[in-house]
Amino acid sequence: MSEPGRHEWPLFEVFVRAKRGLNHVHVGSLRAADHDMALHHARDLYTRRNEGVSIWVVRSDDVVASAPAEKESFFEPSGDKIYRHPTHYTIPGSVPHI
C-alpha cells in the first residue's frame, strides 16, 4: 500500500443491507484511501437508487477465504450426514403437525 504513484489506494469489498430484516450482501469492490472514504464512495457507487439502508466496507486483503481447490475436503464431510436433514426420518402420515 505504501508503494508510491498509482497504487496508493487499497481495495475494499462492499456489503449492502438492502432493507431492515435482511443480511448485508456483497455487491462489489472499490478503491479508496481509507475506510471513511470507502464508505462514502460505496454510498455514491452502490446506493444511487435507494438500494441500501446500511453499508459495510472491509479491506480486501483482510478477507480470508476458503480455496476452491480444497472444496472437497472442506465441504464434503457434511454430504454424507443425511441424518442432519428432517427428511431422513420416516414418520407415519397419521401423526399430525410434524
Binding site: R6, H7, E8, W9, L30, A33, P68
Partner: protein, 319 residues
C-alpha cells in the same frame, strides 16, 4: 473421448461448469485464454463507460432546463458508476485498475468506437439515450448470463440503470418533436448521423468476427453480432415511426417471409477506421481522459498521505 483423458482435473472442472451453465467465480481455475479474454472484454467495456461520459458531459452546462440538467448529470454519473462496477469485476481476475487506465491512455486497450463521434446539438443527447443506449441494452442483456460470475452480476446492475437512460432519451426526443420545425430538424439530423454508427456497435459481421466462436463456446457471449444487430433494428423501427423520424437507410423494409426487417450494410471500412484511431474525436477523447488522470493525481496522493498520517497517529495513540 481421448480429448477428455488429456484434460487435467482443473480443466475438466472448468468445462463442466461451463457445460452446466454454472458460473465461473474469481478464485476458480480457468484457462489463461479465458482469463485474458475476460479481462480484455471487461476492461474495454469499462473504458467505454468512462469515455462515454464525455460526449454527453459536454451538454451538462448547456442543458435547456434545470430538469434536463439534473437528468443528464444523473445519467453521466451512472456511466461513471458502470465503469467502476466493471473495473471492480476486472480486478477479481487479477487486473489492476490503475494499470487498465494507463493502458487506455496509452492506446493499448480500446473502447467502443461509438464515443468517437461528436455531439453537435442537444438532440444528440436524446439520440444517444435512445439509439446508443438502446443498442447497448441489446448487447448487454444477454451478458447478464455471461459465464464469468462477477461480470454477469455487474451487467445486471448496469442493465437496470440503462433502462432509465434509454427512456429519458426517447422522452427528450418526443418533447423536441412536439416543438418547432427547427427542433424537429435537429432531431432528424441527429438520428441521421447516429444511426449507422449505432449499428456498428454490434461489431463486424459474423464472418469477419474472429474471436466470436471461442467466446460463444466459453459462454462469455450468448448471441452473434448479426443476431443482436437484427434484434436492435427490429426493436427500433417501430420506435422511429412513433417518433416521426426517418432512419437513413433506403433498404430498410419489412420482410414478412423472415419476420424481420431487412436493412442495408453499414460501411465497415468506417468502423475499421474509427477503431484504429481515425474517428472524428479519438484524439480528443483520450487527451481529455489523460488530462483528468493527470489533474487528479495530486488529489489521490493527498488523500493517501492524509490516510497514512491518520493511521500513524492512531497507532501512536494506541501504543
Amino acid at each position: 473421448m481421448t480429448m477428455e483423458a488429456e484434460l487435467s482435473d482443473d480443466e475438466r472442472t472448468f468445462h463442466r461448469t461451463i457445460e452446466r451453465d454454472q458460473r465461473v467465480e474469481p478464485r476458480d481455475w480457468m484457462p489463461e485464454g479465458y482469463r485474458k479474454t475476460m479481462i480484455r472484454q471487461i476492461a474495454q467495456h469499462a473504458h467505454s463507460e468512462i469515455i462515454g461520459m464525455q460526449p454527453e458531459g459536454e451538454w451538462i452546462t448547456r442543458a435547456p432546463s434545470l430538469r434536463r440538467k439534473a437528468i443528464l448529470l444523473a445519467k453521466v454519473q451512472d456511466e461513471a458508476g458502470h465503469g467502476l462496477y466493471l473495473y471492480s469485476a476486472a480486478e477479481t481476475l487479477g487486473a489492476d485498475r490503475a494499470d487498465l487506465t494507463r493502458r487506455l491512455i496509452e492506446g493499448r486497450q480500446k473502447y467502443s468506437s461509438i464515443f468517437n463521434y461528436p455531439t453537435l446539438s442537444f438532440a444528440d443527447v436524446g439520440v444517444i439515450g435512445w439509439l446508443v443506449d438502446g443498442a447497448a441494452i441489446c448487447n448487454q442483456v444477454p451478458l447478464c448470463r455471461s459465464s464469468y460470475g462477477p461480470y454477469g452480476r455487474a451487467m445486471i446492475r448496469i442493465c437496470k440503470e440503462e433502462s432509465f437512460h434509454q427512456r429519458q432519451g426517447y422522452e427528450l426526443l418526443m418533447t423536441m418533436m412536439g416543438g418547432t420545425t427547427q427542433q424537429r430538424e435537429m432531431v432528424q439530423d441527429a438520428v441521421t448521423r447516429w444511426w449507422w454508427p449505432s449499428l456498428m456497435m454490434f461489431g463486424p459481421p459474423d464472418d469477419r468476427s474472429p474471436n466470436s466462436a471461442q467466446s460463444m463456446a466459453w459462454k462469455i457471449k450468448r448471441h452473434s453480432n448479426d443476431e443482436l444487430r437484427q434484434r436492435f433494428v427490429d426493436m427500433t423501427v417501430p420506435q422511429a415511426e412513433a417518433l416521426g423520424v426517418t432512419l437513413p437507410d433506403p433498404a430498410l423494409t419489412w420482410n414478412a417471409g423472415r419476420g424481420h426487417y431487412d436493412f442495408g450494410e453499414p460501411d465497415w471500412s468506417e468502423l475499421t477506421r474509427v477503431i484504429s484511431g481515425d474517428g472524428p474525436c479519438n484524439a480528443l477523447r483520450i487527451a481529455r481522459r489523460r488530462q483528468a488522470d493527470e489533474e487528479g493525481a495530486w488529489v489521490r496522493e493527498a488523500a493517501a498521505a492524509h490516510a497514512a498520517k491518520r493511521q500513524h497517529a492512531h497507532r501512536e495513540e494506541a501504543a
